[in-house]
């Protein structure tokens, strides 16, 4: 007689009633579904924070490019863009009150710093705008 046949005259069969299975507690399905919903919200937030962490990388890359351009492109080089940029800078300068930081702090700043300041200002505005867009998107998606 093999084991399989022995099961037929099994004492356990007298004790184990397959009808008496332990039932999952009340609200089990909703608990599982809640965990799934929570998980998918976390995943979405994770994806978006991944996108957000991309913003400073872009800002840093643009800053580096601007700095490199300011250092490498000679001032005498004439093209269509440079005079326009210089004109814009001069316009901004004329709008600002006459303040000579160099003379105030007795510092000698390289001319390239002008580009850095303007670039920094533009990037800050750009960064705030992007942050605003992503942040608003987050809130609306989490609510939905």
């Amino acid at each position: 007689m093999n084991n399989q046949e022995k099961y037929e005259e099994d004492l356990l069969k007298k004790y184990i009633n397959p009808e008496r299975i332990e039932m999952a507690p009340q609200g089990f399905t909703s608990k599982v579904m809640e965990r799934i919903q929570l998980e998918s919200v976390h995943e979405k937030v994770g994806e978006r924070s991944g996108k957000k962490s991309f913003v400073p990388v872009v800002s840093a890359a643009v800053t580096v490019i601007l700095l490199a351009a300011a250092i490498l492109i000679p001032g005498s080089q004439t093209d269509s863009l440079t005079p326009a940029v210089l004109k814009l800078i001069n316009n901004i300068k004329s709008l600002l009150p006459e303040l000579s930081i160099s003379s105030m702090f007795r510092l000698t700043l390289p001319s390239v710093m002008m580009y850095v300041f303007v670039g920094g200002l533009v990037l800050t505005i750009f960064d705030r705008a992007l942050y605003g867009i992503f942040h608003r998107e987050d809130k609306s998606k989490v609510k939905s």
Binding site: N3, Y7, L12, P18, M23, P25
Partner: protein, 191 residues
Amino acid sequence: MDHKSDIYYIEQILCGDSNVFSHLVDRHKNKAYNLAFRICGNHEEAEELTQDSFLKAYRSLKSFKMKSSFATWLYRIVYNTTISHVRVKKKGILSLEDFPADATDFIGTSTSEEEAEKEYRASLVNFALQKITEEERGLISLYYYDDMNTDEISEVTGITKSNIKVKLYRARQKMQEIIEKAEKKKLIYHE
């Protein structure tokens, strides 16, 4: 009553309708919970482990190849999750002294003597299950409660058919021994 197949729901989920997963949970929760409970022997842990298993199944639904049935695939997840949990958290050894002498101990909670006897037997089985290894508990549960044959058990557990037969035989022997001891204790108690 919902008669759509598991495959239909799986396809809906894979198309992006995650809410449909609740139908699969509703359909399989009791058997999955029963398997987890028989292995770990604790209702709170069984609930947590069954929930975890459903979550794992949901996350890995894309990798479900549909070679086996969804139920078999889910039981495999429940079985592995529970076995790993119990292996990490081994329980203290129970003594036969901890077990009630006979069905009269259950009369207060049951409506009739017959019900009390059924309760007594069910508790005795649960007690005996705790005296065997977690792997054997899983096999006993799949064989007796889910009425699976050795081929199906092999699919769920990954254990070979011949090994299942040997392990089931040993587990059954151990449990019978415990039950017989408890029955003898019952006789002594009544003399």
